[in-house]
């Protein structure tokens, strides 16, 4: 569903992403671990076609994101670290607006159903987003993915700053999305969440994918040790 082939990005002579090869299938949660500046966000930005790769290819649903930017964007939902919505609109209105951009017109009942499915309290659905916590805004993002039946979810540090309960809620939502058949790429610093939620874990350092692990095959402490080893190298 999501694939990068020798994906590379240089900025002013510096290599931000170096020869990255990833394949994430439907129903898989791939957690990309790495320190700040490791190249996680750059990878996601290239998948969003925010800027083109210096070399290699990023593909979603078998299509190159640079050659078919609008088609590939129809199949994905992106949730950044701080999901910014229009503060003077309600959660439901924000959902309707962003769904409308992909040509999806939701009824009121559908909006409420999707937002509830994403875990938003019914009482919050018609409140202005300016009153929402970060966790509530993330849930609107997930509702957007549910409403659009997105094949791909790109998440950039989605649990950073969330309290443990909210982070746990979010992890369950990701499980839910995985069960719906979405391919999830989550960039994170959170080793615990990566181990608990991820199907596979990739470790990036200085733009390079250093290691790939099956989450089920490694303990929390081993993951931490492997991660630290790669950061030192």
């Amino acid at each position: 569903m999501l694939k990068t082939i020798n994906l590379t990005k240089h900025f002013n002579g510096q290599t931000a992403v170096n020869d990255l090869n990833l394949t994430i299938a439907s129903g898989e949660i791939y957690c990309l671990l790495g320190a700040n500046g490791a190249g996680k966000t750059t990878t996601i930005n290239m998948l969003l076609n925010v800027f083109p790769p210096s070399a290699g290819k990023a593909m979603i649903g078998g299509m190159s994101v640079t050659e078919n930017p609008l088609e590939t964007k129809k199949r994905l939902t992106y949730i950044p670290e701080n999901l910014a919505l229009y503060p003077n609109l309600t959660g439901a209105e924000n959902l309707r607006f962003f769904c409308g951009l992909s040509g999806l017109n939701l009824t009121n009942a559908q909006q409420e159903a999707h937002l509830t499915e994403a875990g938003l309290q019914p009482v919050a659905i018609h409140k202005r987003v300016e009153t929402y916590s970060k966790g509530m805004r993330q849930k609107v993002g997930v509702a957007l993915a549910i409403a659009r039946s997105s094949d791909v979810l790109l998440l950039d540090e989605p649990t950073s700053g969330l309290d443990p309960a909210a982070s746990n809620d979010f992890a369950r939502l990701l499980e839910h999305m995985k069960d719906r058949g979405a391919a999830v790429l989550m960039a994170t610093h959170d080793l615990f969440r990566a181990k608990e939620t991820g199907t596979r874990i990739g470790i990036m350092n200085r733009g390079k994918l250093m290691d790939e692990l099956n989450a089920a095959d490694i303990s929390h402490s081993d993951l931490e040790q492997v991660y630290l080893n790669h950061m030192k190298s």
Binding site: L48, V50, K74, Y78, L83, A84, Y86, L89, L101, G103
Partner: protein, 434 residues
């Protein structure tokens, strides 16, 4: 997609206080300016009507008195009471005609130079006096100038455009929604273009809607070709300021910086550039002071008056066929000489006026060309022209008064020189200013 974006942009705008306040203030400002313009024009119409009524009454009374004299029912005590006398009919008391620049249909939209230049004047045989009906002016009004629609549009509407457009892109970037928009299956350029277009349409709709509504309420004829031109110009002007907003947003991601730059551009286009253009034109084509011109006119009058006896005798010798010789009424020689002296003074003043008018016209021509650099300055002038309150039109009053005075003099002076008095029937046919 357009409907979807417009609908949500409207929801966003409607929930923002800056828009709500603008949506109330703009119609209020336009209503107030059109109301003041309507009053100003109504006052002019009323004043003109009073003048024309006075004129009609005066000549009706003269004709009536002359009919009584012709029937032998009335006898005049002195020559200056005789309504058959050309001098009495053309010069004395309320005699003479008013030359009037009637307000144009859209005069209510721009006061222009009408608070500086007179719009009517009185013409007699020897005088041309341009006048205004607001000699007793509130000094505060003189300082602040007239509040009209042109002022609201040229000066104030750009501020509202800036308030609603300074952050059209930067706000998305600052709040983070830009990142989310970038991930949507629609061109970000299209989204921003449509958002800006919608804001442009909303502001234009409020301005044009208010203008048409309050114009209709206060009798300003806007549902015609002239009105269509005004609407197009309003659209272009608002589009100019929105274009600046978009341009600045493309180069700067910070709303506060954008607001400061746009406010600076407003100051530059509305205040600084017009001042620089005026300064430059004044430097290129300096116009002599008005005091010098008045002094020169007085010098000419004194010079002619010193020689008037010699000039008069010389003229009479050259034009014996134009005067009556022998026993003439007491006023004849004195008025003959006064009219001739006046004619000579006028000729010399006209010659001297060229020295003052040439640089003034050159200065005006240069300003007209440079005006294109500043859309606000150009638009202000366009509105004045459309409203008929620009200095060029108002300055034609003097030419029109001069032309009419020549007609007036040609009608009366030859008959006076021949002592050919008027009948009551002929009073009805004395020239009128059309």
């Amino acid at each position: 997609m357009i409907t979807h974006l417009f609908r949500f942009e409207w929801m966003q705008l409607w929930k923002s206080w800056s828009f709500r306040i603008s949506a109330v203030i703009i119609p209020f400002l336009i209503a107030y300016s059109v109301y003041l313009g309507h009053n100003r024009v109504a006052d002019q119409h009323q004043h003109v009507q009073v003048l024309q009524d006075l004129e009609e009454t005066f000549y009706a009374e003269m004709a009536e008195r002359l009919r009584l004299i012709e029937r032998g029912e009335y006898e005049v005590g002195a020559w200056f009471q005789d309504p058959a006398n050309p001098i009495v009919l053309a010069q004395f008391g309320d005699a003479g005609r008013h030359v009037i620049l009637h307000p144009k249909p859209l005069a209510a939209l721009a006061a222009g130079q009408s608070d500086l230049f007179p719009y009517y004047g009185k013409v007699t045989l020897t005088n041309r006096v341009a006048m205004r009906d607001n000699a007793f002016e509130n000094p505060v009004m003189q300082v602040t100038g007239q509040f009209d629609f042109a002022f609201v549009l040229v000066w104030l509407i750009p501020l509202f455009v800036i308030v609603l457009g300074y952050d059209v892109l930067s706000r998305e970037k600052e709040s983070g929604t830009y990142a989310l928009l970038q991930s949507q299956p629609i061109s970000i350029a299209n989204v921003l273009l449509l958002k800006t277009l919608f804001r442009f349409l909303v502001i234009s709709g409020i301005v044009i809607g208010s203008l048409l509504l309050f114009g209709a309420m206060f009798g300003v004829p806007l549902f015609n070709f002239g009105g269509l031109q005004v609407v197009l110009v309003v659209l272009l002007y608002i589009a100019f300021w929105f274009s600046l907003c978009v341009l600045i947003n493309l180069y700067s991601d910070r709303s506060a910086v954008n607001a400061i730059i746009l406010a600076g551009l407003w100051v530059f286009f509305v205040l600084i550039l017009p001042a620089l253009i005026t300064l430059y034109a004044g430097k290129q084509h300096p116009v002599p002071s008005r005091a010098m011109w008045v002094t020169e006119q007085r010098a000419i009058e004194q010079s002619v008056n010193r020689q008037r006896d010699v000039l008069f005798e010389s003229w009479k010798a050259d034009h014996p066929e134009e005067v009556v010789e022998g026993d003439t009424p007491i006023f004849y020689q004195a008025w003959l000489q006064r009219l001739l002296t006046n004619e000579m003074i006028q000729e010399r003043i006209d010659e001297a006026a060229d020295r003052f008018n040439t640089p003034r016209n050159a200065q005006a021509g240069l300003i007209n060309r440079l005006r294109l650099l500043s859309p606000p300055m150009y638009l202000q002038h366009w509105f004045q022209q459309t409203a008929g309150t620009d200095s060029d039109r108002l300055q034609t009053l003097d030419e029109q008064m001069r032309a009419f005075q020549q007609e007036w003099q040609a009608h009366f002076i030859p008959r006076f020189r021949q002592l050919d008095f008027f009948t009551s029937e002929e009073i009805q046919q004395i020239p009128r200013f059309e």
